[in-house]
């Protein structure tokens, strides 16, 4: 029963990643990220590692509130202020992104089957799922143009690492996990402000155009 719940949650996580790869609406992407944070919190409760149940619950609740409510709120505000609705012209198109996602999935599953892992992983799906999320995070960061999509990619990457952590590490010190959450929070906070300032200075949030900025003409 628990195994089925874990597998269902991991498959849902993988599906949210595929949606992130295939959609161009930034609003929908932010909602997907919020849903991902919620799923991760539930998953952390189901993947009961032998540890203090209060700590596990605190971590799950903390990550759910931060990733499910606070980050989406910060990002939606940045999105509203930047007057951008869609990722219009990414470096890699949406269909091709989905195909790349399929390839990444195959790689993640074959790697997950091959790597020597400690036991008690909950389910054989968790580790490939985490690897896949990390791949998708990297892919989103390099393949999208707007700064906001890159922040989303960073969050997916962090979610993947978090999933890896709750699956693999027994009794992770709460202090470290809280520290990581705080770091991510600060990062998203600062990037939200940065996006706003980039928008105000240059009237767009496309990062590849920033590369052409120079002080002096050569």
């Amino acid at each position: 029963m628990i195994l089925q719940a874990i597998d269902t949650l991991v498959v849902l996580l993988i599906l949210t990643n595929l949606l992130l790869l295939g959609t161009n609406r930034l609003n929908g992407c932010i909602r997907m990220i919020a849903f991902q944070g919620f799923l991760l919190g539930v998953l952390a409760i189901f993947l009961q590692t032998p540890g203090n149940p209060v700590h596990i619950f605190l971590l799950a609740a903390g990550s759910m509130i931060l990733k499910g409510v606070v980050f989406p709120w910060l990002l939606s505000r940045a999105l509203r202020e930047a007057h951008v609705r869609r990722e219009v012209d990414p470096f890699v198109g949406f269909t091709l992104s989905l195909i790349a996602g399929g390839a990444a999935l195959a790689v993640a599953v074959s790697l997950g089957a091959r790597l020597p892992l400690p036991e008690a992983l909950g389910s054989t799906l968790v580790f490939p799922g985490a690897l896949f999320m990390i791949f998708v995070g990297f892919f989103l960061i390099v393949s999208r143009r707007t700064a906001l999509s890159q922040v989303l990619g960073y969050l997916v990457l962090e979610n993947g690492i978090y999933l890896c952590g709750i699956a693999l590490i027994h009794d992770e010190p709460v202090l470290i996990e809280m520290g990581v959450l705080l770091d991510v929070f600060v990062a998203v906070f600062i990037m939200g402000i940065m996006i706003f300032h980039i928008q105000r200075e240059f009237d767009h949030i496309e990062t590849d155009q920033l590369a052409t900025l120079k002080d002096v003409e050569p």
Partner: protein
């Protein structure tokens, strides 16, 4: 054997009814009376009595298209099990033959469309080829996932008894979703194609058969209805195989399921708009990736 023959007979006679049900559901949602349930039977009878008109620029390919299309779909309908009983024809690997037959029918429809030399039909042919190239991997991967899970290679053993998905139930949903998207795409239903429209910019399937008339058009319409029945039977077989029951109750349940599927398609068509052409490839590739995920998850 008798049951299998009966099921084939049911597929041949009842498949036009599915389209009638879809149209009646849509009419109900729109508050219209709608066309009679048996409208497609009347249309077929009318078309078969008429003569065909052939343009002088067309060759034998144009005449062969509808015939080969209908023949391949007829053969495919003998491969698909129904109501938890094996089909008339079954051998290991017949799911590949099913995909191949559907592909052959499509290939000749496309060739016939290109043979007319009309740029309008060429446009439809190009769209059909592009989208089916994305839909076919999704179908094959879904069937491969079911084959891998059941350890069998023939449709008649894959789709008749409930599989032990166990804690891998999510894989079953993924396969069901992928096959459903393929069903919508292959049968030119909303959200991939709108069968009710004759607006040139959005047509895919309709545009390819504009130049066919009389018995040829009847063959095409009947073949399309059979194709809907075939893919519907595959979907029902994956989601709810009624094996291990009394054959008659199994048949009744499967019939109810496939008619319910038709109602469901009608509901979707009433509630959803057609997708923009550029949004269709991500949908189909997404279905393919879902099927791939199911395949990777379903390792026994």
């Amino acid at each position: 054997m008798i049951m299998a023959t009966l099921h084939l007979f049911m597929a041949l006679t009842l498949s036009p009814l599915l389209l009638g049900i879809i149209n009646r559901t849509k009419a109900l949602f729109a508050g219209r009376t709608g066309q009679p349930l048996l409208q497609l039977y009347y249309d077929l009878a009318k078309l078969l009595r008429k003569g065909a008109v052939y343009s002088r620029t067309t060759t034998w390919v144009f005449r062969a298209g509808p015939v080969i299309g209908l023949a391949s779909v007829l053969m495919a309908s003998a491969l698909v099990p129904f109501g938890g009983r094996p089909s008339l024809l079954s051998f290991p690997g017949d799911f590949l033959v099913l995909a191949c037959l559907l592909g052959l029918a499509r290939f000749f429809t496309i060739l016939a469309a290109l043979d007319t030399g009309s740029s309008f039909e060429g446009m439809g042919a190009s769209r059909e080829a592009a989208f089916s190239a994305l839909a076919e991997p999704a179908l094959l991967l879904s069937l491969a996932a079911v084959a891998l899970r059941s350890g069998r290679l023939s449709l008649s053993s894959m789709l008749v008894s409930p599989l032990a998905w166990g804690h891998l139930a999510p894989a079953l949903w993924l396969v069901a979703a992928a096959v459903f998207v393929v069903l919508l795409a292959e049968n030119a239903r909303v959200p991939v194609d709108d069968p009710a429209t004759h607006l040139e910019l959005t047509m895919i399937h309709e545009v390819m058969v504009l130049d066919h008339s009389g018995p040829d058009l009847a063959f095409i319409l009947y073949g399309a209805a059979l194709k809907l029945w075939i893919l519907g039977a595959v979907w029902v077989g994956i989601v709810a195989p009624f094996g291990g029951m009394n054959p008659w109750t199994g048949t009744l349940f499967a019939l109810a399921a496939i008619l319910g599927l038709a109602v469901f398609i009608g509901v979707i068509e009433s509630l959803m708009a057609r997708l923009r052409l550029s949004r269709i490839p991500p949908l189909l590739v997404g279905a393919g990736v879902c099927a791939l995920l199911a395949l990777l998850v379903a390792r026994p």
